[in-house]
Symmetry: none
Subunit: 406 residues, 2 copies
């Protein structure tokens, strides 16, 4: 079954709103073994008609979001009626439902609302519990169109509670479960992963291999028609790439760290210098992080490193703030000051200024102190772009904590 | 000039990555008087060729993102060469540049990288300072194709620094280089701004008014054919909206705070509790923030508030950590501990758990202490969604600092 998505909305093409429908629908469809093969965004108005007819020629299932409202530029319903050659029939009970919602909110209904009670002949009506425009399912020959309202808080429950169950029932014989494993890898480039893994994985059978690169890391996505084959492919990739794989199943690094720390009942403290609070911020983006995170310091100035973390002035003078020795002393100071089980420290040169030939922008040292065992220190040269530098440094700092928890 | 955008990337169609390129490019094009008329997402691989040929028939300017990397599914370069009937020519100096980047980071270059040094005959090369794949501009007849790399940290500077200036120069006669002023407003909704401002601004002359809403704030964008008119419109909007306008000219809140503090030669300290380091992190995203930011604390636990900021245990027991009294004590403790001129503190309930009927998820208190003058305290009820809550709270905290600096 070939699937396409059409998103309507001038605000999407003006950059005022980010399209979150595609990701939501794609992830949901993937669980049915379906993949979106193409997605199109068109402005409100007539363009929907052309885009819909093009999609009809290529796809079986077409999901359309938006354009179901009452105003003159909302013409999704009419465009699909025209393309499918189906009449639109007025349904009094839908208008009564809309009228009841208006009454509840003490708004006055106007005549424009009537268009939302029009349904294609033979069409299925999808209830909208959180707005006025109902969704619609219309079939013609091999084509199925599912029309969904634009607001995410209306679309999402309608999809989950109505459209998805309908699809599963109607096409029970055609849907298969997609089998996917995504490995997230820190510290190896996309091409190196490809050279190491791709040929051997493909020799196992019909495995699709995909890559998604981000600064300093890459997702390796393996898809196969059955679970045994995708597991085999993942096992092979794990053997090749080793412990650079920091997570599977779509977890972020910070989610992994918080999950592992909760399981191990360990607490974590942070001493951010060049990362400026980003390590702490990422940890505290995760729900329930308060169970494992209690203390963090942002010691941007040398004086802060001394007064808050007890880094000796001599170390700073002799080696400079961006040094192995200071990273170690910061981590140990954070461990001591917080009473945590693990403390991580980051000190580096985020730029754009402050670099020297010996210590260029992008140079960074990490310290990892634990209640038991020696303090580790690590040096890296990262991107000279400030925000990318901070992100990459925070990722490595979190990975050090992850490794200490494994 | 008709514009279309093609985004390539299987990860977009699988819902693993959200498309932020469209919004970024659309907002930038808008300032040239250009609008994206259609956007298509296709998976990595052959589909780009078909999508590109379709776009050629409709559009003049085609922006393509992604598919410029070195791996086998990156074929944007080849698809455009084919559609335009242009040869790809190897450029040794591009490969040398890539090799130098690999050497700098002490990585080993492999043979797959060679594909990134191929350029269409007559094509313009766009430098990629933050990655390996250069961007490309290729023209044929009425069609112009601009090919940009997929990673946002590579695409954005390349667009701003290379592609956009090229476009302005090449099509100076066709682009209506409108004069634009964008006012960023914190603490007033989109419709309220519209009611206050739009009719009166439009009565001044041919001013285009646009809105871009984010949680708790809205951008008001004014565009006019001449500078005098847009200035007049902005003056009117300023008079109506007042000091809720926190910045103009596209500066972020944190850039405004750092700029104002540098000018005033004041230092700022932060005490993040529920914001978990986000206030400090946003300040330190700005270049030269080390001149004004030296100390920050992330006092997530009550104990950390006591030992690091000297918040009295009695206050925490009597009023709870999320209270006016504790916000005040945190700000004053941060001021004392850092010796800074201004200290801001945030304590609240980010959720999803920890709320009570009296202190629900989303409740937050802010403290602002200064070397001279009384400490201010502010209470807000924000979004119950964790990351939105943290962002909104950090925005209000930074705005308090901004107001103290004005």
């Amino acid at each position: 079954m070939r699937v396409e998505v059409i998103n309507t909305g001038t605000e999407l093409l003006l950059g005022q709103v980010t399209n979150t429908h595609l990701g939501f629908l794609a992830q949901s469809l993937f669980s049915l073994g379906l993949r979106v093969e193409r997605q199109v965004t068109v402005p409100d108005g007539l363009a929907i008609a052309e885009a819909f007819e093009e999609a009809m020629a290529r796809a079986d299932l077409i999901l359309v979001t938006g354009g179901l409202g009452p105003t003159s530029d909302d013409i999704t319903r009419e465009a699909v009626a025209e393309a499918f050659g189906k009449k639109l029939i007025f349904h009094q009970e839908i208008l009564d439902g809309i009228a009841a919602k208006f009454a509840e909110r003490k708004f006055v209904m106007n005549e424009l609302q009537r268009s939302q009670a029009m349904v294609h002949e033979g069409g299925v009506v999808l209830q909208n519990k959180f707005g006025t425009a109902p969704g619609l399912i219309v079939e013609k020959g091999k084509n199925v169109a599912i029309l969904l309202p634009g607001p995410p808080n209306e679309l999402r429950p309608m999809w989950e509670n109505e459209a998805l169950p309908w699809l599963k029932k109607r096409f029970a014989d055609q849907l298969t479960l997609g089998h996917e494993i995504t490995l997230r890898i820190l510290g190896m480039g996309e091409t190196r992963v490809q050279i190491l893994v791709e040929d051997e994985v493909k020799a196992l059978g019909p495995v699709e291999v995909g890559y998604c690169a981000r600064p300093g890391e890459v997702d390796l996505r393996l898809i196969a028609p059955d679970q045994a084959l995708v597991e085999k492919a993942a096992a092979l990739a794990r053997a090749k790439v080793g412990d650079l794989i920091y997570t599977e199943g779509g977890e972020t690094m910070e989610q992994t760290v918080v999950r592992l720390a909760r399981v191990a009942r360990k607490t974590v403290a942070t001493a951010d210098s060049c990362t400026g609070g980003l390590v702490a911020n990422r940890i505290t983006n995760v729900s329930h992080s308060s169970e494992i995170f209690r203390y963090g310091w942002v010691t941007y100035a040398n004086e802060a490193k001394m007064t808050e973390l007890g880094v000796p002035a001599e170390l700073l003078e002799k080696h400079g703030a961006v040094s192995e020795e200071v990273a170690k002393a910061m981590a140990e100071g954070a461990l001591r000051g917080s009473g945590a089980d693990i403390a991580v420290a980051v000190t580096g040169i985020a730029g754009p200024t402050g670099g020297t030939p010996e210590k260029p922008v992008g140079l960074v040292y990490f310290g990892l102190a634990k209640k038991t065992g020696a303090t580790q220190v690590l040096q890296k040269n990262l991107s000279p772009q400030r925000e990318t530098f901070k992100y990459m440094a925070s990722q490595i700092a979190l990975d050090l904590v992850r490794r200490a928890l494994v």
